[in-house]
């Protein structure tokens, strides 16, 4: 029953109904990878230290550049198969509703065919970047998260947990003072305790 349902899910998504902004062409291109992703991943939970890239000082001065810069870092690591598609999916999501939160946190994200596993990049910007946030303040911390379109991934759970943790000013300042990937992972890891 459940297995049948899942196949339906994959078929539904791959048919390009566009629920998460996938064009029919791209869906076909990657549809081979979308089969049978269930139910091996029945109990997937995220780890806070799941951070793949870290940019201590973002060179960008606006929202779209910053997103491209973070995506570029993930691409350099070989995590993104199709950067153009990934960017398109992120921008589609961002145009529908901005992911700028409060206290200077930006959480751009997308479920996309362009990646084969969940990946996260973190970028910091002391000067602040306009991000169309809820409280109107510029963002200093941007997490970019990409998850595969199909299968089970704790995509939003990670973002929800990050947003909650970020409301703590002490933790926020620790995160903002990180200088390297290992340090950022350590600060994130502290959340799981």
């Amino acid at each position: 029953m459940y297995m049948g349902y899942c196949n339906l899910q994959c078929a539904d998504g791959a048919a390009g109904l566009g629920f998460r902004g996938v064009s029919l062409y791209n869906a076909k291109k990657y549809s081979d990878n979308t089969r049978g992703t269930f139910p091996g991943a029945l109990m997937k939970t995220h780890r806070y230290a799941d951070l793949d890239c870290f940019i201590p000082v973002l060179a960008s001065t606006d929202k779209w550049q910053a997103i491209s810069e973070l995506l570029g870092s993930l691409t350099t690591e070989g995590l993104v198969r199709d950067p153009d598609l990934a960017l398109q999916d992120i921008l589609d999501r961002e145009h529908t509703l901005s992911t700028g939160m409060t206290h200077g946190l930006g959480l751009p994200h997308a479920r996309t065919q362009a990646v084969s596993r969940r990946c996260v990049a973190l970028g910091l910007c002391r000067a602040g970047i306009e991000f169309d946030t809820i409280d109107g303040l510029p963002v200093h911390v941007i997490f970019l998260e990409l998850s595969p379109l199909h299968g089970v991934w704790p995509h939003l759970e990670y973002l929800a947990d990050l947003a909650r943790a970020y409301s703590d000013p002490l933790w926020r300042s620790e995160l903002e003072s990180c200088t390297n990937l290992a340090g950022a992972r350590r600060v994130l890891e502290r959340l799981s305790s």
Binding site: M1, Y2, M3, R93, T96, L97, V152, A160
Partner: protein, 550 residues
């Protein structure tokens, strides 16, 4: 008749009659299906239709020989001393009892039990103890047992202990009173009831074959109860410690159906440990079910076990009904009625009185007491075990079945009338504030609410939640992942989201993303326009051809 042929025919007849009568009782007579299944057993049993001799086919084909051996005999034969031997059916009923109790454990809501633990504990204990003594007393005062410590008296006491709240729950949910303090107290007390009955059951098991009427010393009864309680709690402790490992192991199978069935085998293993410790098999199965009820795959297991349950449980109750000799009850009828009245008083007073200190008035106490009166599943299983151990005969089984039928038929109307009055509390209920909070999202139309809710549930599924469609009239889903529990329901035009602590913020985010996804889809849809939809249906070439024809 050949034994293989006989058992196949017996199982077929049992299942067919139990299922059809069970459904008939459930749909037409608004009684629990278990009652229909027991009645099916009475009808097809060895003391009624099943005792009539039937002729089997006798076919002789040249060269091949005899296809079926000639035999004339009843489908459910009784021996010369009037005792029905279930044979292989007994093995199937044992499995049925394990499946049922494992499932009962799974369905137990430990958290809800703990929320109402003080009132539940008091009412459960009061009702169990008083019913036990009144049940055993009925046997003593009718002259069927020499003392309270006589095995027959003990068995009747244990049968009187376990309430079946299935019927009560149905009445309460029909009258929308399940979430009242009375309803919650009944559900909580029923957990205690089951546990006490299972502990007492170990006494019955340990008296195997000892129907000589010799009284068991009180010291022995105390020691055995203590041992049974220790084994119960020990098994539960181990089960709760290992529950996460077990659920992880089950998920490795990669198939939810397989996970459910293998979970049941863990129930069987726990049942073996319980039996080896001198308790009944069903105690172990119940404890394993109870342990797994605190995992996020509880609903997955429950769903996967539906076919297994549908096969074994009707068989269990039908065969238990077959053990009863209703026609032979005759001389025991006064006892059966006395027993029914006394153990009903046992629950009414035993559960009602202890509820009063917990803020209930007399009306509330009466509601709780009456709600606890029906005895069904566990009582029948205990009676079956006692019968198997030779402690009670088919006439006494008949008396027990009379009690079960009377309480099942009499309780719902009384309960429905009792719940019509005002509050059952002496003062307004204290705020049962729990961690769980709710958000209500009003929408312009019910169809839209349903559409968004379905997409929302899908989104949670992609996040790794186990989804369970709740069998309620309104549309509702129970979503679980690790310790997170989220409930989504559609009520009229609104979507309700219930979650505890930080899960609610998470649920808010998932809702927001769902809406964002839908808006994107609607944007794509709008961009199609009426003109291009027509072109999708009739491609350009086809339109051109049509114009050409014209």
């Amino acid at each position: 008749m050949q034994s293989d042929l006989l058992i196949a025919l017996q199982v077929a007849v049992v299942i067919i009659s139990a299922k059809f009568l069970g459904r008939f009782f459930e749909r037409r007579l608004h009684q629990p299906s278990v009652i229909g299944e027991v009645v099916a057993g009475l009808i097809i049993g060895p003391f009624a239709l099943g005792g009539i001799a039937i002729a089997s086919l006798h076919v002789h084909i040249p060269l091949i020989g005899q296809v079926l051996t000639p035999a004339v005999g009843p489908l459910f034969p009784i021996d010369s001393s009037g005792i029905f031997h279930e044979g292989l059916l007994r093995v199937l009923t044992i499995l049925g009892a394990v499946v049922l109790m494992f499932d009962a454990g799974l369905e137990t809501n430990l958290k809800r039990f703990l929320a109402f633990a003080p009132a539940g504990l008091a009412t459960g204990l009061g009702g169990s103890v008083l019913s036990f003594f009144l049940g055993a007393g009925a046997a003593v005062w009718s002259g069927l047992a020499s003392s309270f410590r006589d095995p027959v008296a003990m068995v009747l006491g244990v049968i009187a202990t376990a309430t079946s709240v299935g019927l009560t729950v149905r009445v309460l949910s029909d009258t929308r009173t399940l979430n009242t303090p009375e309803g919650a107290t009944i559900l909580s007390a029923a957990v205690i009831d089951d546990v006490i009955a299972l502990v007492f059951l170990s006494l019955v098991v340990s008296m195997s074959g000892d129907s000589s009427g010799t009284a068991i010393p009180w010291g022995m009864i105390g020691l055995r109860s203590l041992w049974a309680a220790m084994v119960f709690l020990g098994l539960l402790g181990i089960g709760l410690l290992l529950r996460k490992r077990i659920s992880k192991l089950l998920l490795r199978l990669g198939s939810l159906e397989a996970a459910g069935v293998v979970a049941l085998t863990f129930g069987l293993l726990a049942a073996c440990i319980a039996e080896a410790s001198g308790l009944a098999l069903i105690v172990g199965a119940y404890v394993m079910g109870l342990s797994l009820s605190e995992t996020d795959i509880v609903n997955v297991i429950h769903k996967a076990l539906i076919p297994v349950r549908e096969f074994f449980v009707p068989l269990l109750f039908c065969v238990t009904g077959m053990l009863a000799n209703l026609a032979g009850v005759g001389s025991l009828l006064p006892f059966a009625l006395l027993y029914t009245v006394l153990i009903s008083i046992g629950k009414l007073v035993g559960c009602g009185l202890p509820a009063i200190p917990f803020g209930f008035n007399l009306r509330g106490a009466a509601r709780i007491g009456v709600g606890m009166v029906p005895r069904q599943e566990v009582g029948l299983i205990v009676a079956g075990i006692a019968f198997g151990n030779g402690l009670i005969g088919s006439q006494m089984m008949g008396a027990v079945v009379v009690m079960i039928l009377v309480t099942a038929v009499a309780t719902p109307p009384v309960l429905a009338v009792l719940f019509k009055g005002g509050s059952g509390l002496r003062r307004p209920a204290p705020d049962q504030s729990t961690d769980t909070r709710m958000i209500r999202i009003p929408l312009p139309a019910r169809d839209l609410a349903l559409f968004i809710a379905e997409k929302l549930v899908d989104m949670f599924r992609h996040e790794g939640f186990h989804v369970f469609d709740m069998p309620v009239r309104a549309k509702a889903w129970d979503l679980r992942k690790g310790s997170r529990v989220v409930t989504i329901a559609v009520e009229e035009n609104s979507i309700l989201i219930m979650a505890g602590g930080d899960s609610l913020d998470y649920a808010r985010l998932v809702f927001l993303e769902t809406i964002t996804g839908i808006r994107k889809v609607l944007g794509d849809f709008d961009s199609l326009g009426e003109h291009s939809i027509r072109h999708l249906l009739y491609p350009r070439e086809e339109l051109r051809t049509q114009e050409h024809i014209r």
